[in-house]
């Protein structure tokens, strides 16, 4: 994974900086100028989106390594401001810059208190999310990762529902506990590498034995698993979602959770590949438990928002499964599914928000038959539901299909019990397509269809132009990715292939065998990644 060192316009920093500039501007505006707050916030986030389009157009899909890299000295002890984008982060960066202005637009009717502070928090959050995704220095990554918590903590704690304090503190504590261990891990890597650099690319060269890897993987993995959230670390999520204002839920589900899955893919797996191999099956098991458990518990909910929150546990279970299947298509499917989840679950939270603004309740039983007064709303809800349950033609199908296909390929190619176990996991995960239909369509039926049982629902106002614009944009993406996924997939493929290759070359077993042979392993040529990762692992151990 090399660095593309062409001198470039600092698009990445510009994208990150624009929301921050907006936030600074907002800090100077008097507190009662709500319209101005909204305007500045929207303009700043749209600006960031427009600049990020340059990232998209300047991105070279053929290159595996980081691109548009900016590198500057930062702190004396070796931490640098290094940012770059590759196929692993590109789609998530675009998701962030797109979802943020849409979310800001969606709050214009809902957030009426402390608008200035709210928009400052939103914009700072965007900067932090982008920083987390773009950082190539592990300390820089950690700084963004940690600061990111604060605005989200405030958004839940200040603008949330009745139990917002409990939910916000739970969110904060839970994620902080995970992060502390990761910080220790980062320091350990730093010292192990000679105490001169926090650079990610240097960390990839750090030699670690299996015992070290297991500990470090656990330290990083816990922080990420909580964020994802991987079963059983998920119970902060329903509380946070239910109490968060709509915008908080959208960003939380749409982008923040992906920081966990991104962390696994960027750090935990390639830095500690032997540990990833060792922990692979147990994590896949937890992922599949998450798929089934999340779906069933979602089915049992009577609060729409909780239902969507538990559905996230199920969806991210798919993402985790794909990443640890470690075939190119599964990992690419996982990355795409992160984006898909951001779109469909983000849109679901927006839809719930539309209802909440009208009726001030999230209880499914308070609705019923509202497809009659709210025709356009019903259209959006049905389309987003189809995306969420992975109907072919929508984005959700592409992600789930690639993840499951990759898992099956890995299972069929892996000899012995590990292969059988993976096959069983793949089959169990596939039941998610049935369970997803059950809980989503049950909810849709109860909310949209049947006779109107509450008189106040008779004349509910259909979606406004502003709401329709936000939802419509997401619906376009649902079909765009579903029908023409290749522009998205092709931008991930080089980096994913290189990542899997890096994992292989970093494996302790692989190095030992290569040394014993006195030559490079025959799999080490450029096409080696086409062979499933675990085959290489098991095959070579067996020899």
């Amino acid at each position: 994974m090399g660095i593309d060192t062409r001198a470039v316009t600092p698009f990445l920093t510009m994208t990150m900086l624009l929301p921050l500039v907006g936030a600074l501007l907002l800090a100077m505006i008097p507190a009662d100028r709500a319209r101005a707050h909204r305007g500045i916030s929207l303009v700043a986030s749209i600006g960031a989106f427009l600049v990020s389009l340059s990232i998209w157009t300047n991105f070279n899909p053929a290159l595996a390594g980081f691109q548009l890299v900016e590198d500057h000295a930062w702190l004396a002890f070796g931490a640098r401001y290094t940012v770059g984008v590759d196929g692993i982060s590109l789609l998530l960066v675009m998701l962030t810059t797109l979802l943020t202005p849409l979310t800001i637009l969606s709050t214009f009717g809902a957030i009426k208190q402390r608008t200035r502070e709210f928009h400052i928090a939103m914009l700072v959050l965007e900067t932090c999310m982008l920083g987390t995704l773009l950082a190539m220095d592990m300390l820089l990554f950690f700084v963004f990762w940690e600061i990111m918590l604060v605005p989200m903590f405030l958004i839940i704690g200040v603008w949330g529902g009745e139990r917002r304090i409990y939910a916000a503190v739970k969110f904060f504590l839970y994620t902080t506990i995970g992060s502390v261990l990761m910080f220790v891990g980062i320091l350990y890597m730093y010292l192990q590498g000679g105490g001169t650099s926090f650079a990610y690319l240097d960390a990839l060269k750090t030699g670690l034995d299996l015992r070290e890897q297991l500990w470090l993987f656990a330290a990083f993995g816990l922080a990420f698993a909580i964020k994802v959230p991987l079963f059983p670390f998920h119970t902060w999520l329903p509380d946070a979602h239910v109490e968060a204002p709509t915008a908080g839920s959208v960003i939380l589900a749409g982008v923040l959770l992906k920081m966990g899955t991104y962390g696994f893919l960027r750090f935990a797996i390639p830095l500690f590949p032997d540990a990833a191999g060792t922990f692979g099956l147990p994590i896949m098991l937890l992922a599949v438990v998450g798929v089934i458990y999340g779906s069933l518990v979602a089915w049992a909910q009577d609060d729409v928002k909780k239902l969507v929150a538990y559905s996230s546990v199920a969806h991210l279970g798919f993402v985790m499964l794909g990443m640890f299947a470690m075939t190119a298509e599964a990992v690419q499917g996982s990355i795409l599914q992160m984006v898909n989840h951001g779109i469909s679950t983000g849109a679901l939270f927006l839809l719930v928000g539309v209802l909440y603004e009208r009726r001030h309740t999230r209880l499914i039983a308070a609705y019923g038959g509202i497809a009659k007064p709210m025709k356009v709303f019903a259209f959006f809800m049905v389309v987003i539901t189809l995306s969420s349950i992975g109907l072919p033609g929508t984005n959700g199908f592409i992600g789930e299909f690639l993840i499951l296909a990759g898992t099956f390929r890995e299972a069929l190619a892996t000899p012995g019990d590990a292969g059988i176990a993976m096959m069983v996991l793949g089959v169990l995960a596939s039941t998610g397509i049935v369970l997803g239909a059950i809980y989503m369509l049950t909810m849709v039926r109860k909310v949209l269809f049947g006779p109107i049982t509450h008189a106040e629902n008779e004349h509910l106002q259909d979606v406004t132009f502003r709401e329709g614009f936000v939802l419509g944009t997401l619906v376009v993406l649902v079909f765009w990715i579903g029908l023409f996924p290749n522009p998205f997939l092709s931008r991930t493929s080089a980096s994913v292939n290189a990542l899997l290759e890096t994992c292989k070359s970093r494996m302790v077993q692989h190095r030992l065998i290569s040394q014993a042979d006195g030559q490079a392993s025959p799999q080490a040529d450029g096409l080696a990644y086409e062979r499933p990762y675990r085959v290489a692992l098991h095959g070579e151990v067996a020899e």
Binding site: L17, L20, L24, A31, W74, Y81, R116, E117, A121, V124, T127, I147, F153, L154, G157, V158, V169, K170, Y174, L296, V297, A300, A328, E329, A330, Q332, G333, A371, K372, V382, L386, L391, G393, I398, F401, L404, A405, G406, F408, R409, L412, A413, G426, V427, S430, T431, I433, V434, A437, L441, R445, L448, F449, G450, P451, F484, P485, N486, S490, E530
Partner: protein, 653 residues
């Protein structure tokens, strides 16, 4: 003016209904009622015309084409890792027949809908969904890759869901739609698993011709690993049981009658429900390699045929009788493809599309005339009032009952005949099974003749028994489709006459089925076939005679007496063998209870209550600090946040 190429025409076939669906779906508020009709009916008609022109051009060319096929590459759909899936269309004898059936019968049903749905407040939404269905069905049929077939496969399921629950303010209809989708998804789960195995063994493609090539190679894994092929074909068949309403997943189809009647005709009789039959026929070369799977398929088909027919004997809702009849007839088709008579199975699919669509539309006409009444006990005497509906209904009833020289007679007979000539090559499957299948199918044929003529007599003969409604013949938009379909129901059988020299059907489809059928079907004697025709004629006439005696003739008191003396059996049949109740008790309720248990006890109780909040209580001091921060000076905190971040960012400058 030169004719557009086959490739262009095929694109038009698929896109015309999609355009119709999008226009009526998104812009209905700007469209007049007549424009909606024009778009809604125009879309499938354009598709039909394009399909016809494409097939006409293709027919003389086909001998010179590889596998008699034309491929239209649209675009590369999915590329990731080794996976390469193209979006491309594939015209071959099988898909040629199917697109004509789908667009032809589809156009008639769209036209009929203009009259039937005239006053509905969601007229445009109806046509949008019906067009979308046509699009999905054409994609299913024309998709060259199994994954594209799967797009259509789930797409028709979606449209079925939307149209069953079309009148969504009625909770029962909304529930029926949901049930259809979920039961279909259970089948799709099997289908998808099969695709993953095929994807692996085909190195990342799901292209049907490539699969065929791989299967043709005697050294390929498909010819060496029978266990794998058996598993894959059984998983595919799970998908077929969902879509084609076979035991154990047929339960959604009777409930699907909640949808508007033209929908029942198009989706739940003529096209979508035959998708499972089509899929097995499409992959015939794979299925014949797995004799155990074939035996399972044939058995399920035969049992479903007689099982559903027996329920049909006692139903009183005109659409429910037809629904169970459809399940039963689909059982025939599945039996056909299960014994390797792929051509016969698809032949019955085609004839059934005519007569069953005609029957459903006739039922719709009756319901229309009876002001929504669907109970046949309250009908009677409609023959005089509705001549077009009556005669077309009678012709179709005769066709499905197997009256000689009408379409159903030829197609059903061929399946019966081929069931007996099935050649048990493998030795794994006992040969007497063929006889059992044959007996079941013959029993089902008897019942079919009985329940169909019971339906006909109760509805049209005698005197009107309930005088609330004032029946009248339906408008021309409804009667014209009835007449066209009845002509098809009468004559379509002549495409597949039981004589090799006259059998146009078999000849046409030989490039698709020839090799597979030869490997599995013995050439039965012509005498046997003619003999069987005699047998099934007797069976059909017996059934009709019994129906006459019981519902028109001297035996009119007998049904009530039978019902009284065998009340247990009657209750069992009336309640459809209690299958819905059994599923509810054994599957749905326990699962729902389990979901509640997971939520209340595991999630809220164990994980959150003990594992998370337990230690958290110890840290409540920290929580208190957080609380003070959150409710304190937010403004100050936010400012500090911005400044802090700015400092960090600018440190490096």
């Amino acid at each position: 003016m030169s004719m557009p190429s086959i490739e262009t025409l095929l694109v038009v076939v698929v896109l015309a209904p999609l355009v119709g669906a999008v226009l009526n779906g998104l812009f209905s508020r700007f469209l007049k009622h007549s424009t909606v009709s024009l778009l809604g009916v125009g879309a499938p008609v354009v598709a039909f015309a394009a399909a016809l022109l494409a097939v006409i051009q293709w027919l003389p060319l086909r001998a010179s084409l590889p596998d008699a096929s034309v491929t239209v590459m649209l675009f590369k759909w999915i590329e990731a890792g080794p996976i390469v899936i193209d979006a491309s269309l594939y015209l071959d004898p099988l898909s040629a027949v199917m697109i004509l059936v789908v667009t032809g019968i589809g156009s008639l049903i769209h036209l009929y809908s203009v009259g039937y749905m005239h006053d509905d407040s969601s007229y445009a939404r109806y046509f949008s969904h019906l067009n979308l269905f046509t699009f999905s069905m054409l994609l299913l049929v024309l998709g060259r890759s199994l994954l594209l077939l799967f797009v259509g496969w789930e797409g028709v399921g979606l449209c079925s869901y939307l149209l069953i629950g079309f009148w969504f303010t009625d909770m029962d209809k909304a529930i029926a739609g949901k049930k259809a989708f979920i039961v279909n998804r259970i089948g799709d789960f099997g289908f998808l698993l099969a695709l993953f195995f095929l994807l692996f063994h085909l190195n990342g493609t799901l292209d049907v011709p490539s699969l065929r090539q791989a299967v043709a190679d005697p050294t390929s894994v498909f010819n060496t690993d029978t266990a794998m092929v058996t598993l894959v074909t059984l998983l595919l068949f799970v998908g077929a049981t969902g879509k084609s309403a076979q035991i154990p997943l047929y339960v959604w189809l009777p409930d699907a009658m909640a949808g508007p009647t033209p929908v029942s005709a198009l989706i739940h009789a003529a096209t979508m429900v035959t998708a499972g039959v089509y899929m097995i026929a499409r992959l015939n070369f794979l299925f014949v390699l797995a004799p155990v799977s074939m035996a399972v398929i044939a058995s399920v088909g035969a049992v479903t045929a007689i099982f559903a027919a027996s329920i049909g004997l006692v139903q009183n809702d005109i659409k429910k009788v037809l629904a169970y009849s459809t399940v039963s007839q689909l059982g025939y088709m599945i039996l056909g493809v299960g014994v390797g008579a792929f051509g016969a199975g698809v032949f019955h699919l085609m004839t059934h599309a005519f007569f069953k669509a005609c029957l459903f539309l006739g039922a719709g006409s009756v319901i229309h005339a009876m002001a929504g009444e669907q109970d046949i006990r309250k009908m009677g005497g409609l023959a005089k009032k509705m001549p077009f509906t009556r005669w077309t209904f009678l012709i179709s009833t005769m066709a499905i009952a197997g009256v000689p020289f009408l379409s159903g007679f030829f197609s059903k007979d061929e399946i019966l005949f081929k069931t007996l000539t099935y050649h048990h090559v493998s030795g794994v499957v006992p040969e007497w099974l063929s006889v059992v299948w044959f007996a079941l199918a013959l029993g089902a044929a008897l019942m079919t003749a009985m329940y169909m003529f019971r339906l006909y007599f109760l509805t049209f003969s005698g005197e009107q028994r309930d005088h609330h409604a004032h029946p009248h013949e339906s408008p021309a938009t409804m009667t014209i489709p009835l007449v066209v379909l009845a002509i098809g129901a009468a004559l379509a059988g002549y495409l597949g006459l039981p004589d090799p020299s006259l059998n146009v059907w078999e000849h046409l489809l030989a490039p698709v089925f020839g090799a597979a059928e030869e490997s599995i079907l013995a050439t039965g004697s012509h005498a046997l076939e003619l003999g069987l025709m005699g047998v099934s004629t007797v069976v059909a006439l017996t059934g009709i005679g019994l129906a006459w005696w019981l519902y028109r003739g001297a035996g009119q008191q007998v049904p009530a007496r039978i019902a009284a003396s065998m009340s247990g059996l009657h209750r069992l049949l009336s309640n459809k063998y209690y299958v819905d109740e059994i599923y509810d008790t054994l599957v749905i309720r326990p699962l729902k209870a389990y979901a509640h248990f997971l939520w209340k006890w595991i999630d809220v109780g164990l994980i959150d209550g003990i594992m998370v909040n337990g230690p958290a209580r110890l840290l409540s001091a920290v929580g208190g600090a957080g609380r003070r921060l959150a409710t304190g000076d937010v403004q100050g905190y936010a400012a500090a946040l911005v400044v802090g971040l700015a400092v960090i960012v600018f440190l490096f400058l």
